[in-house]
């Protein structure tokens, strides 16, 4: 597969899951795109156990926002990831060793190009919808620019049309934390100890940015962790410290440090106007797509003005755009947490798309 960098990559494997049934006209397919740390396991609605929840369990299943009793929902791990799709931890068949940093730098557009092959493979001509939050939302926008004829509707949630300098800054700090870990060893660590300390720090930075100042007050405040008074030492004093340490360490069990580098780099490069000059030109062929743009009031990582700018551009090209700025105190994480609002908003939107586009389910 050709890549935006000019390099070629192959063979490529994409890990994916599906929920619900594809109807005979193949008209009920919805593609879900995941965020930085996500994977293909978006829902456990078809699992026998609840041991392994999906990252968007609350929104995917019978009667939920993406109702699997009506729709066929697909989620694939991104190119460059480490959860089954080809990425830097995959074996390079030419050398029989993991790629490491010899893996080519991929973009959001490359991730979407790979997903299009998956949709081709599944025999789906046009997706009823494509939806995702954060980096998932970038893939949503890229789909509607790269393959507008393959998409009826799009739900970019808590996202942006171009990665801001602040987002790049947080990405870079995460990468620097990984580079600073001697175990990283220039990306060549698959035979030895992993750069878990660096990856954990990167993840901790991320977790702060996913919360809001308000939600941190609500969840943690200044409460102490398993002590009555300050320890006057460098053990864990506060609940918030314990939370970050736990989440940072937990992440290293399921994520590859090199994938963290590649996926954050893809996000940093993301500017939907790349190669088009400006945003309006980029979306010029997307006028027939119905959009639901969603932002959250307390999301300081992807502030609402990003979504408002996007809505302005989509309106300018003549697309049918609905916009909802959801009142929420949960920060960026709101797209995973504001379940009730999301469910009614998304299910009504999908019903409308089905009706207005004359889609037979």
């Amino acid at each position: 597969m050709p890549l935006d960098s000019g390099e070629e990559l192959g063979p490529i494997q994409l890990a994916y899951e599906t929920y619900g049934q594809l109807n005979s006209e193949k008209s009920n397919a919805i593609l879900i795109s995941h965020a930085l740390s996500g994977d293909a396991h978006a829902s456990s609605c078809q699992s026998q156990t609840t041991e392994n929840p999906g990252w968007w369990d609350d929104c995917i299943g019978p009667g939920r926002a993406f109702a699997t009793d009506k729709y066929f929902v697909i989620c694939s791990n991104v190119l460059g990831g480490c959860r089954g799709s080809t990425g830097p931890s995959s074996i390079n068949l030419r050398t029989n060793k993991p790629y490491g940093l010899s893996f080519p730098v991929v973009t959001i557009s490359d991730m979407v190009r790979a997903q299009r092959h998956l949709i081709d493979y599944l025999g789906i001509d046009t997706l009823l919808a494509i939806a995702g939050g954060s980096m998932g939302g970038m893939q949503v926008l890229q789909w509607t620019v790269s393959y507008p004829e393959r998409v009826y509707s799009a739900l970019p949630i808590a996202t942006t049309a171009r990665h801001s300098p602040m987002l790049i800054a947080f990405s870079e700090v995460g990468r620097q934390a990984i580079y600073a870990d001697p175990n990283w060893n220039g990306g060549d660590y698959y035979d030895g100890p992993r750069p878990n300390a660096g990856l954990a720090v990167a993840r901790m930075v991320g977790h702060i940015t996913y919360l809001s100042e308000t939600s941190m007050h609500q969840k943690f405040g200044r409460r102490l962790r398993k002590r009555e008074r300050f320890g006057y030492d460098f053990d864990t004093d506060f609940e918030i410290e314990s939370y970050l340490r736990y989440r940072g360490n937990k992440f290293t069990e399921r994520f590859d440090a090199n994938s963290y580098l590649y996926v954050t780099k893809a996000m940093d490069y993301f500017d939907i106007s790349n190669g088009h000059g400006d945003l309006v030109t980029a979306f010029a062929k997307s006028a027939d797509i119905t959009y639901l743009v969603v932002s959250f009031t307390s999301d300081w990582l992807y502030p609402t003005y990003h979504s408002k700018e996007l809505v302005g551009v989509l309106t300018a090209v003549g697309a049918d755009v609905s916009y909802c700025n959801v009142q929420s105190s949960w920060g960026h994480d709101a797209f995973l947490l504001e379940v009730e609002t999301m469910t009614s908003m998304i299910s009504n939107f999908l019903d409308r798309v089905v009706k207005e586009k004359g889609i037979r389910l």
Copy 2:
């Protein structure tokens, strides 16, 4: 000197600088407190060269906000720091080795207690004012609670009465980055290589939080650094990346990683109500002090509501409080950058204090 932890520390050295002349009545002294990464060199107004600017050069000097032609300005490096005052990199006279982690954990209140000895040593009975931004503002508040009879007026700027969980979270990530550096070696590194990689990452996180999303757009945008197009590699693509790397590395030349741990810990412990039960009780004896509270609209690290809460408490105890929420796009760094506004605001405030308190200069 006794510490809040119950331990004792001594002998203690405090590095300090003074600017201007102490008058014969010793009534024109202003103490300036510095922030996390600052030191005693607040101004170069008395230097022969401009090679080594002070961290608050724009505000301290003849005709400036803290006018050294009228006032005697003092700034000391905090206890626990690494710029001349006793801290973890100092030699423990009992062992003839640097303290490292055997240095006791100190608090903002301990820092202020040490400063009070300096003010005693200088023969100053009552400070005309005490001023500082960020962690400097915490010391300002602590002075007015610990030694209200020694202070006529106080200028807590871009600060808070208690460190929020988000602030603790950012502190903890910085500390984790240092712990993750093998050169840190449990704090025992003064004979070997320094944990510069970890300290640089900590500093990079800090720098992001000192800016605002808007100021990052203005300063860096998505501009590339010395390249025309994406490199598709992990070198520096963007200006913002280059800025962070530079500032992170630069910091390691002048700061000690263990001091970073101790000073951030002191900030995390800071809650002016510690030992008092609540904020109003804490400030109960501060009613005779005149306050100028300053916040900045784009400061998301110390959001304005922190200052507003403080103003409410100070008003409740009957103190004379002026409050200014300065319109600024510079984020937390605004207290170093909004020179024009600060100059008129602070100099008018000090004039008023001198007049109303009947202080003879």
